[in-house]
């Protein structure tokens, strides 16, 4: 009887707390990546006023990619974006160490898809994917010599299929889309 009660309790607890755990994990991972960048490069993320400019830049890029016929990539309201501007991103010859710290800051639910690094130009892109019910979360980290962005967005399976065919462009496309989305939703 006690065992049955314990099992029932466990099931109820799982049903009630699983979504909460998932939500917390989502926030933790995004924030953990931002913290990893701040700690490794000794930089601070910035917010609103600069995002408008990023949005304008993104809008132009996305429109160009789509041949003028723009279609939103990420689900509405799903985008989280952090921007670092006009700060120095110098890995001092330890770019592989930064790759490891990004990997360590994410839990195992994220699958790494692609990482591109250029030690000379201090340019890096990391893309991670994880399932979110019938959709997918995509996390993109882009680092350049003077700026960086971290984007997390929810995308539909057909959009992910389109993006996965060319993972090299995936990061830029999603980041531009997120920047535009952010610029449009802010007053």
């Amino acid at each position: 009887m006690k065992t049955k009660l314990a099992i029932t309790g466990l099931i109820i607890a799982t049903i009630f707390f699983a979504p909460l755990t998932s939500t917390l994990a989502r926030g933790d991972d995004f924030d953990a990546v931002v913290r990893a960048i701040e700690q490794f490069y000794h930089v601070k993320h910035q917010s609103l006023p600069l995002l408008a400019r990023a949005g304008m830049k993104g809008a132009r890029t996305v429109a160009r990619i789509k041949g003028g016929d723009y279609k939103r990539i990420a689900d509405a309201g799903s985008v989280r974006l952090v921007f670092f501007e006009d700060q120095e991103f110098n890995s001092h010859g330890r770019i592989a160490g930064f790759k490891a710290s990004i990997q360590n800051s994410l839990n195992e639910t994220w699958s790494p898809l692609i990482a591109t690094l250029s030690a000379k130009d201090e340019e890096q892109t990391y893309i991670y994917i994880r399932e979110a019910g019938p959709k997918f979360h995509v996390l993109v980290v882009t680092i350049e010599r003077r700026e960086a962005t971290v984007v997390e967005a929810t995308v539909a399976p057909d959009v992910l299929a389109m993006l996965m065919k060319d993972p090299g462009d995936m990061g830029k496309t999603l980041t531009d889309d997120a920047a535009l989305n952010e610029a449009e939703t802010r007053p």
Partner: protein, 189 residues
């Protein structure tokens, strides 16, 4: 008594299936090369590309691609357990060592791997080797090691690979151009 016998028989069948499944999985896992030790080369490389499509992502990819538009890709991906690519480009020669290459090559000696192509150019210093892991007449894994003076690339595909259709993966999912294009048949006059 009969019921007990039938239950035992069912259990034995399930056990056999589990053991068989585990053996197949273990073999497919055996085709996965350990290449993360190369990551430190990124510190010296001018360009690094690291693609990891693990089994979980492969299953996802197989699900999300359209039956109509992406039928070819979907068929190639079906059954694959992973695609792993590490590619390093350097500005100068001698930025990676024979120990780096050897850390991958030693895994390809024995363990079911057979070299099917080996091209060495003494003039250019290029060295390309292609290995297959076979189980019966089915390919369980493929490895391409390309070591050039200023470039080092490892491609590892795990699972049943269809060589004829593999060229369709080139340029997609971060897989570099492996020169796998099928020769076009000559037109008869």
């Amino acid at each position: 008594m009969k019921t007990l016998f039938q239950t035992s028989l069912k259990l034995a069948a399930i056990m056999l299936l589990l053991i068989g499944g585990a053996a197949i999985t273990a073999h497919a896992q055996g085709a996965r090369l350990q290449i993360d030790q190369l990551d430190s080369l990124a510190n010296k490389a001018s360009e690094t590309v690291d693609v990891k499509l693990d089994e979980h992502l492969m299953l996802t990819a197989a699900k999300i691609f359209s039956e109509k538009e992406d039928a070819d890709i979907k068929e190639i991906l079906k059954g694959l357990k992973g695609i792993y690519v590490k590619s390093f480009e350097f500005e100068k020669e001698g930025q990676y060592s024979t120990a780096d290459v050897e850390s991958v090559m030693f895994q390809l000696r024995g363990g079911g791997w057979s070299k099917i192509v080996g091209v060495t150019s003494k003039k250019d210093g290029d060295n390309v080797e292609v290995y297959l892991m076979m189980q019966g007449d089915q390919i369980q894994g493929l490895a391409v090691i390309s070591a050039e003076p200023k470039e080092f690339t490892v491609v590892n595909i795990v699972g049943p690979v269809n060589l004829e259709k593999l060229s369709k993966l080139e340029g997609q999912f971060g897989v570099p151009d492996l020169g796998l294009d099928q020769p076009k048949p000559k037109k008869s006059k």
